[in-house]
Symmetry: none
């Protein structure tokens, strides 16, 4: 891969920025657990787990990036060790199902519905990631398109579930929370739709080139921050508002 | 050992995936301690200890894997430092007895029974691991089979204790928890039975070969995730449900 020093450094700095953001977000969500009602504590636990797992993987991604290139005479040379792009997919396999579980948990549905919706949406999310990976590592344009397209099927099913399957459940949320849940749903769809845009943009700019690599690495990084930390803040706001609402009669307990 | 780059990377990624999973599981269990009744807090402490110890060992296993091989010209070459497989057995010696202690603790039996069952099952589990290790490191097929078979004796005794010895205790659990305890028991038996399958599959595919190594490393990794993190989630669910049940008369305290 041909990278300029500027591209190499921009990508390394993007990784470091993400470690700081994900680490800080994790602590924010877990410290916030003590400020919400018991019913929403698990939602915040999971929200923090997602950013914790992402922070771990960005540390590994950053180490792999360092090991994959040497700076020589003001230029960048690839070493014998290839950059390990699989960390991203390993991360998504764990975090993407958990993101949907966060949303289900903060809605505080009946136990049976929580389990059935969590399993269905989590399973579809895992399937989406598993189908995307062969396309990401393939060298051929045809294979990249084929797996990318297959991966879109569970994605579209998730979109359908979020907008049609959750319709009744969202209608039952308190009125001052409904808007936030709706935003969280849109952030999920739009932030997630950004990943295939990055995926296909990488193909468009020419696989293996420096511009393509920069677009893919920085693009996925921005998408991860929005989909995990940004989405998490919405979950946190929903949990806080619903806590105030649920425990309206016991203000002392609500803020314990 | 002859490994392709793909096999080497698959195993390295499986180790990293496990570090993330075990680390996240640990924090999930320990954060969950605040959501269960006092009688179940120790069970969740131990559940998190098991995944914590596993996360530590997978960090060491990953480092040993990196040190044991060099990537040269797109291929993989063994270095002078052998891969240390003993970390797995050190891990199991600590965690496998604790897994049975988790199950005993979450059942909340009378104190005398908790101690006697914990010591007996924990001791058998430790014996099972100690007997398996000489077989894992031996080069001879006969020795591998002999120690593997000897290790099955305490395993079968544990299965007997779980299904016959715990029968009365499980019958006394609340009705909405009995199914979960039964599932936990089955996960223990089936996930643990998967270890000897991996052990003998390694022998079957030819000790020291790349395919054998991949089957053994990925197989043990999957088994560890199911037996420790997956099993832990069942323990967590049992603890939460029993807390709601035990403290049914004091809902405010139950969810504190």
């Amino acid at each position: 891969m041909e990278l300029t020093l500027g591209q190499y450094e921009l990508i390394a700095n993007a990784f470091s920025f993400t470690i700081a953001t994900m680490g800080a977000a994790t602590l924010f969500f877990w410290l916030g657990r003590s400020q919400v009602a018991p019913a929403y504590k698990t939602a915040l636990t999971i929200t923090g787990l997602v950013t914790f797992i992402a922070a771990y993987h960005y540390v590994r991604i950053g180490q792999s990036w360092d090991a994959a290139f040497d700076v020589v005479d003001g230029g960048v040379q690839a070493t014998a060790v290839p950059f390990n792009d699989a960390y991203r997919y390993v991360d998504w396999l764990l975090t993407v199902p958990l993101l949907l579980v966060e949303l289900i948990l903060v809605m505080n549905l009946p136990r049976r519905e929580t389990v059935s919706k969590g399993v269905r949406l989590g399973g579809l999310a895992a399937l989406m990631i598993v189908l995307g990976y062969p396309g990401e590592i393939s060298d051929g344009l045809g294979a990249s398109f084929l797996w990318g397209a297959l991966s879109m099927i569970p994605f579209l099913w998730i979109v359908y579930e979020l907008f049609v399957g959750l319709k009744d459940s969202i209608a039952k949320q308190p009125s001052d929370v409904r808007g936030l849940v709706d935003t969280a749903r849109w952030v999920t769809v739009l932030a997630w739709a950004f990943y295939p845009v990055v995926y296909f943009a990488g193909i468009f700019f020419g696989l293996g080139g420096g511009v393509s690599e920069t677009v893919v690495q920085v693009g996925y990084t921005v998408a991860d921050i929005v989909a995990k930390a940004g989405f998490g803040i919405l979950i946190y706001m929903i949990a806080v508002r619903k806590s105030q609402h649920d425990l309206g009669a016991q203000p002392a307990a609500a803020t314990a």
